[in-house]
């Protein structure tokens, strides 16, 4: 048997898996998005009607606004938080591993558990947050019960779980040659200058990676939003809206069309971020 054929045979299980579990569902989803299908009954082809209905639905724009607003604020907040945490634990003091573990722990807790814990933390009457504020004589807000405070509530949760990217930043920080800092010290650079002119530029590839991942994750926010909700429509994130269309209202065709729109939104935003890469991301190939 030819060597190339043996190679193909070896990758065949993966190719089959890819075709059956990825390519076929994508094609099926494209078809379902153009049908009136309730999961339970028969699907009937309706062309682009689902997309027309979506763009005429105020609830779609509301969900998109809630999610977009969250993404705009949560992505930079989580990136900055994770970066600051990484910088603060990027040394070899005794016992630093404990701190790294503690900071990383929130990212391994299940989304459901986080939501349940935050339900109590954000409780307006007996919640931890408002109890602490009361110690300083501040009457805390109603958090998830007040439309104006729903977004800040989710941002607090996002910041709490921001250290998911901690180890990627730490790995990148360890990769920066120490000689660069030594040279900078000899040249009289201070801490801030080293960060500004050495650390941040060399971290831009990992910042770029976390920006793209954050973008995807923010637009796909579901678990805590589904469990906690929020006053009025302020807690109806895009994925929650999509889920309800599919499994509460039995409009699977409509929900699949929503999924395609989300895919296009994320794709376009990622392409835009990718386009800006040449202006701010450091590359050794330059």
């Amino acid at each position: 048997m030819k060597k190339s054929r043996v190679g193909f045979l070896f990758i065949l299980p993966w190719v089959l898996g890819f075709v059956i579990f990825t390519v076929f569902p994508i094609i099926a989803a494209l078809y379902i998005a153009m049908t009136d299908w309730s999961i339970i009954g028969r699907a009937s082809f309706v062309g682009l009607q689902n997309f027309r209905d979506i763009f005429a639905d105020p609830a779609f724009y509301k969900a998109l606004t809630v999610t977009g607003r969250y993404a705009i604020l949560a992505i930079p907040l989580t990136i900055i938080t994770a970066l600051l945490v990484a910088l603060s634990v990027n040394n070899d003091y005794k016992g630093i591993g404990i701190f790294r573990t503690v900071f990383y722990m929130p990212s391994i807790v299940s989304g459901v558990a986080v939501a349940v814990v935050f339900k109590w933390i954000l409780d307006p009457t007996y919640g931890v947050l408002n109890s602490i504020l009361r110690l300083f004589g501040v009457q805390g807000p109603d958090w998830l019960y007040d439309p104006a405070w729903v977004l800040p509530s989710y941002l607090i949760m996002a910041v709490w779980g921001a250290s998911g990217g901690l180890y990627t930043y730490l790995a990148a920080l360890k990769d920066i040659p120490k000689e660069l800092y030594e040279v900078a010290t000899i040249d009289g650079a201070g801490w801030a200058q080293k960060i500004r002119y050495i650390t941040l530029p060399l971290l831009t590839p990992i910042l770029f990676y976390n920006l793209v991942m954050g973008l995807i994750s923010a637009f796909r926010k579901f678990t805590d939003a589904y469990i906690l909700g929020g006053a009025g429509e302020e807690g109806v994130f895009y994925m929650v809206y999509l889920y309800r269309q599919a499994f509460s209202f039995y409009k699977m065709g409509y929900a699949t069309a929503l999924a395609w729109i989300l895919f296009v939104i994320i794709l376009v935003l990622t392409l835009i971020v990718n386009y800006t890469k040449k202006y701010w991301v450091y590359s050794e190939r330059k």
Binding site: S38, I39, I40, G41, K119, D123, P124, T125, Y126, G127, D142, Y145, D146, P147, A231, G232, E233, V236, R244, F247, S248, F249, Y250
Partner: protein
């Protein structure tokens, strides 16, 4: 040689015919193993399985029922089973979804078999309970539970405030109910002398909005399942009753309710004096397990009388339904009927009229409530569920009820008109 060949060919044809006939006969043979999907889990599943085992034993091998337990994401998984053409033969379905599943052809129209049954007929049910299993005047399920609302109240808190008990036989109006709740809303002190607010009543999205809409004599959808009554004067009056309750300060602020876990805990912890709960709620058992000094006496009253002169008791019901693929199987229907009859001995309360005494066998502690429970069962009411119910109900919660809870001065009239318009659009698009 030719003859031999022709004989052999003839034998083959004969064999093929025999196999074909046998195959056809086999296809016509009735199913003898059925699957029953349930959301029951834990202790409830054990009790459910005992019932199924009993039915299987009594079947004497004529059929067998297997349990399919779906304890989480029940409706998502059920829909997936149906999409995969593996619909369970029997399954539990909540009242809100009967019309949807009927419209989509997933469940069988059992009207004829139900009416002609010698064992269980529509006439035996409480009408308000049975209504939940209908769509366009046809029957699609056998309700196996009735759980209408009843007013539980704390006799000790009434005595402490010097407020007379509500009438056990009913007849009190919503205005009287609100006045009673006002008298019970006061600052009291705990055993350590610390002051805290005691409320007369609790609303936090429960009871559901139908309770108040019906209190005004209104409704969400008309009996014909098409007309939307949300913006009718009577419905607005009902929502006015809800607003009056929220503005009167007789219920804990919405943002505070979650602090004790859930609304019923407020009643159990004696923070509210009256609670509208299903007759199935087991406050009696819970209170009996509390430390002696935390126990209290429970009283019962029917729902207040609305502006239409009726004491509507919202009723939650689930039905056993039959897969549409067995729509013509009398045998399958009989099996479903037999199992449903067993459920009546299991749950509070049996949805059949005249069986209220069965409650004492299941929950003896409900004895003092029996007469009031009977009134609530007679007044049990289901909404006019339509296939678009979930969407309409979602709008009602998100844009109306939730908004009213967060802001007692909320302009519900304008919002309800917008929701009514959307409900009309949804119903007009029905296939």
């Amino acid at each position: 040689m030719k003859r031999k060949l022709s004989k052999g060919f003839g034998a083959l044809v004969l064999l093929a015919v025999i196999l074909f006939v046998a195959g056809c006969t086999g296809a016509k043979q009735e199913k003898s193993t059925y699957t029953f999907a349930t959301w029951a889990a834990g202790e409830e599943l054990k009790e459910f399985s005992v019932i199924i085992d009993k039915v299987n034993r009594e079947a004497n091998g004529q059929y067998r029922v297997e349990v399919l337990s779906i304890p989480s994401d029940y409706y998502v998984k059920l829909a997936t089973y149906i999409a995969a053409k593996k619909t369970p033969d029997f399954f539990w379905l909540t009242q809100e979804l009967i019309s949807k599943y009927a419209e989509l052809g997933a469940i069988a129209d059992i009207t004829e078999m139900f009416k002609e049954s010698q064992v269980l007929t529509p006439a035996q049910y409480y009408p308000g309970v049975l209504r939940s299993a209908t769509y366009q005047g046809r029957y699609y399920g056998l309700p196996w539970i009735a759980n209408p609302l009843i007013v539980y109240y704390n006799k000790d808190l009434f005595d402490a405030a010097g407020v007379p008990y509500p009438p056990a036989a009913g007849g009190w109006t919503w205005d009287e109910f609100i006045e009673t709740a006002k008298a019970l809303t006061r600052t009291v002190r705990d055993k350590n002398g610390n002051p805290y607010q005691q409320y007369g009543y609790i609303v936090d999205g429960w009871p559901n909005i139908e309770t108040f809409i019906w209190a005004g004599g209104g409704d969400i959808i008309a009996d014909n399942g098409v007309d939307v009554l949300l913006d009718s004067q009577a419905t607005l009056q009902g929502l006015g009753i809800l607003q009056k309750i929220l503005k009167a300060g007789i219920t804990p602020p919405y943002r505070e309710v979650g602090s004790l876990g859930s609304n019923n805990v407020w009643f159990e912890k004696q923070r509210v004096a009256m609670f509208m709960g299903g007759i199935q709620d087991n406050f009696e058992v819970k209170v009996s397990r509390l430390p002696k000094e935390e126990q209290f006496r429970i009283g019962y009253a029917p729902m207040p009388v609305g502006l239409d002169g009726k004491a509507h008791a919202f009723n939650w019901t689930a039905s056993t339904v039959l897969s549409s693929k067995l729509a013509k199987s009398k045998k399958a229907y009989d099996v479903m009927e037999k199992i449903t009859l067993e459920f009546f001995k299991w749950k509070i309360a049996s949805p059949l009229a005249g069986e209220v005494d069965r409650i004492l066998e299941i929950a003896p502690m409900k004895a003092p409530a029996l007469a009031t429970i009977q009134i609530c069962l007679n007044n049990a009411r289901s909404a006019n569920y339509v296939p678009e119910w979930n969407e309409i109900n979602h709008l009602l919660w998100l844009k109306l009820y939730n908004a009213m809870l967060n802001d007692p001065d909320f302009d519900y009239e304008s919002e309800v008109k917008a929701i009514a318009a959307e409900a009309r659009r949804l119903i007009a698009n029905r296939k």
